[in-house]
């Protein structure tokens, strides 16, 4: 014990340096994590102290709620389409932007990164204005050429709204994987390419046999990050459609927000923070499970490839 206290005293400055961060970390990360789990067992509108203990009822109700599964399915459609499309475009674009012969590199970088450094909430608003304007022009042309009979209200039509949201999400987030890929490409040894060229490899060969394997480690990180990020989608849906029309674009993020602050939106449901926390926790566990699966799958694929002759 004496030795312990001596050790503590010796590091007194370290504690002074750590304590502010540790307090904020415990207060705003650890405590909220623990207590949001506790809320999931109560009926609670957010006023006063949670008293109405309901056990696992919220979890059971969520598992039975078709609106949750609708939001769940939409979230996975969003991520399932966005991630592969965004990563493919980002990789090709990164290779082009990294090429030595390219002029105006810096201008192009600013162009493709600009949606990333701007606020999703505000850009989402601008895009919804634009989609009304451009959308009505496009559907006017489509009607004139008799490809469709009636003008389409792109964000107001349950059949098209989700695709608009996905396209905008892909556009807004493209810069992140692009930046990671660019950084990864810059780390590749140029001599690999020179050697392959001497052996008569073409540009496509260089891409598949040198570029792709070399940035695979970065690619795995990017895949994980973009998947997690897109499963947490909220801002863009909230400002563009609020989950509508008729829940066609509702994702788990907006489902939770709706239940936490406004109630079910159907029938006479009230705001219920207990229910919302349960939905959040349920989704959090699922997402964690998925990322574990993803890591395992990537590992398996890597070892499988190595084992092949």
């Amino acid at each position: 014990m004496g030795k312990f206290m001596h050790n503590v005293k010796k590091h007194v400055w370290s504690y002074v340096f750590i304590v502010p961060m540790a307090i904020l970390f415990l207060g705003f990360t650890v405590y909220p994590l623990l207590s949001s789990v506790r809320y999931t067992f109560y009926n609670w509108s957010g006023i006063g102290v949670p008293k109405d203990f309901v056990g696992f009822k919220h979890y059971i109700n969520i598992a039975k709620d078709p609106f949750f599964w609708n939001a769940f399915r939409n979230t996975f459609i969003y991520a399932g389409v966005l991630v592969p499309v965004q990563l493919s475009i980002a990789l090709v674009l990164a290779v082009i932007l990294n090429s030595k012969q390219l002029r105006l590199k810096y201008i192009f970088r600013v162009i493709f990164f600009s949606p990333v450094v701007t606020s999703t909430a505000i850009v989402g608003i601008v895009i919804s204005l634009l989609s009304i304007t451009a959308g009505s022009e496009i559907s006017r042309v489509l009607v004139q050429t008799e490809l469709i009979n009636r003008p389409i209200d792109w964000l107001g039509d349950p059949r098209t709204a989700m695709w608009i949201v996905i396209s905008v999400g892909t556009w807004i987030g493209l810069g992140y994987p692009l930046m990671y890929f660019l950084a990864g490409l810059q780390a590749i040894d140029q001599e690999l390419y020179d050697a392959a060229k001497v052996d008569g490899a073409g540009n496509v060969d260089l891409f598949w046999y040198i570029t792709v394997p070399s940035i695979r480690p970065v690619g795995i990180v990017v895949l994980l990050v973009t998947t997690l990020h897109s499963l947490r989608v909220f801002d863009i849906v909230q400002v563009m459609t609020k989950g509508g029309p008729y829940f066609a674009t509702e994702v788990v993020g907006t489902y939770i927000y709706r239940h936490a602050f406004f109630g079910t939106g159907v029938g006479e449901g009230d705001a219920n923070l207990g229910f919302a926390s349960a939905a959040a926790f349920f989704m959090g566990i699922l997402v964690m499970f998925i990322s574990v699966l993803q890591v395992a799958a990537v590992r398996y694929a890597a070892t499988y490839r190595q084992k092949r002759p």
């Binding site: 002074v16 340096f17 904020l24 207060g27 650890v30 192009f108 947490r232 939770i256 926390s277």
Partner: protein, 280 residues
């Protein structure tokens, strides 16, 4: 002699053309927004997709700045962003330094818990955070936004600093200690100046994150419109003057421009920062 060089130049020209066309489509929403902000209402609805206003007018900006209160929102955003960014840089560089340079009792537990929370689902812990802010009597203040934005950036950035400090050699600091410098002066006079690149990266990313933060200020300023930040103000403006599109365009341009300019000026820091994060 001319022919082969033309044939070699062709793919290059093609790639540039393709990039310009794609880049044009890519930035079209921004250009359309800026053009819209400079048009009169009549012109806007007459030439809805055009990018060139017949005559640039600044009336929309004046209206957004004054009657739509964007001057207030701008001030609030600057306040929140600068304060949170400063706090994050100071607190996480200190914590990162201590974690990297000393092995105090309790360090392993702390690092373990910090790592664990990075992988645990948190995204939706806003409710207990709201309760905490309420108990601290900070509800409907800008301090709430500063505090929550700062606090939720602690773990990731502390680890960035830990990563940086463990890669730089200790010799200079050890020499300083022999000369009688204590932990604090070593940190201030030796470690911090060496850490300039990582400070730049953290500060830049934090600045942009805080400027664009939407959900936190939305929740904590619901009851007090005068405390709105630009993102929340923009969201509210859509509800209030949904039909006044040229005003919306001007307000959006004003809100988005600072981070785009910042990125344009400091893009090296960005790419280097990301490259550093990958290596680390």
């Amino acid at each position: 002699m001319k022919f082969p060089s033309v044939r070699r130049a062709l793919p290059k020209i093609f790639i540039h053309l393709a990039l310009i066309v794609f880049g044009g489509f890519y930035t079209y929403p921004f250009l359309w927004m800026v053009a819209g902000s400079l048009k009169t209402r009549q012109e806007f609805f007459g030439s809805r997709l055009s990018l060139w206003p017949r005559q640039a007018i600044w009336e929309n900006y004046r209206e957004a700045w004054e009657s739509a209160k964007f001057s207030v929102y701008f001030g609030n955003t600057v306040f929140v962003t600068i304060l949170s960014t400063l706090l994050v840089v100071i607190l996480t560089s200190m914590a990162g330094y201590a974690l990297a340079r000393s092995s105090f009792p309790g360090k392993r537990i702390l690092v373990g818990v910090m790592l664990a929370t990075m992988f645990l689902p948190k995204g939706y812990t806003i409710v207990p955070i709201y309760e905490l802010i309420k108990n601290l009597k900070l509800l409907n203040t800008l301090w709430a936004v500063v505090l929550v934005n700062t606090a939720t950036s602690m773990v990731f950035n502390s680890f960035l600093f830990v990563g940086y400090f463990t890669t730089i050699p200790k010799e200079l600091e050890e020499a300083a200690t022999l000369d009688g410098a204590n932990f604090l002066t070593t940190y201030l006079l030796i470690a911090l100046p060496i850490a300039r690149p990582i400070i730049g990266t953290v500060a830049l990313f934090e600045f942009i994150d805080n400027w664009n933060s939407f959900f936190i200020p939305l929740v904590f300023t619901l009851g007090r419109p005068s405390l709105r930040t630009l993102t929340v103000g923009m969201y509210a403006l859509v509800g209030e003057s949904a039909t006044d599109w040229t005003l919306l365009c001007a307000a959006a341009t004003m809100s988005l421009l600072p981070t785009i300019i910042l990125f344009f000026l400091l893009q090296r820091v960005f790419v280097d920062g990301i490259a550093g994060a990958i290596r680390g």
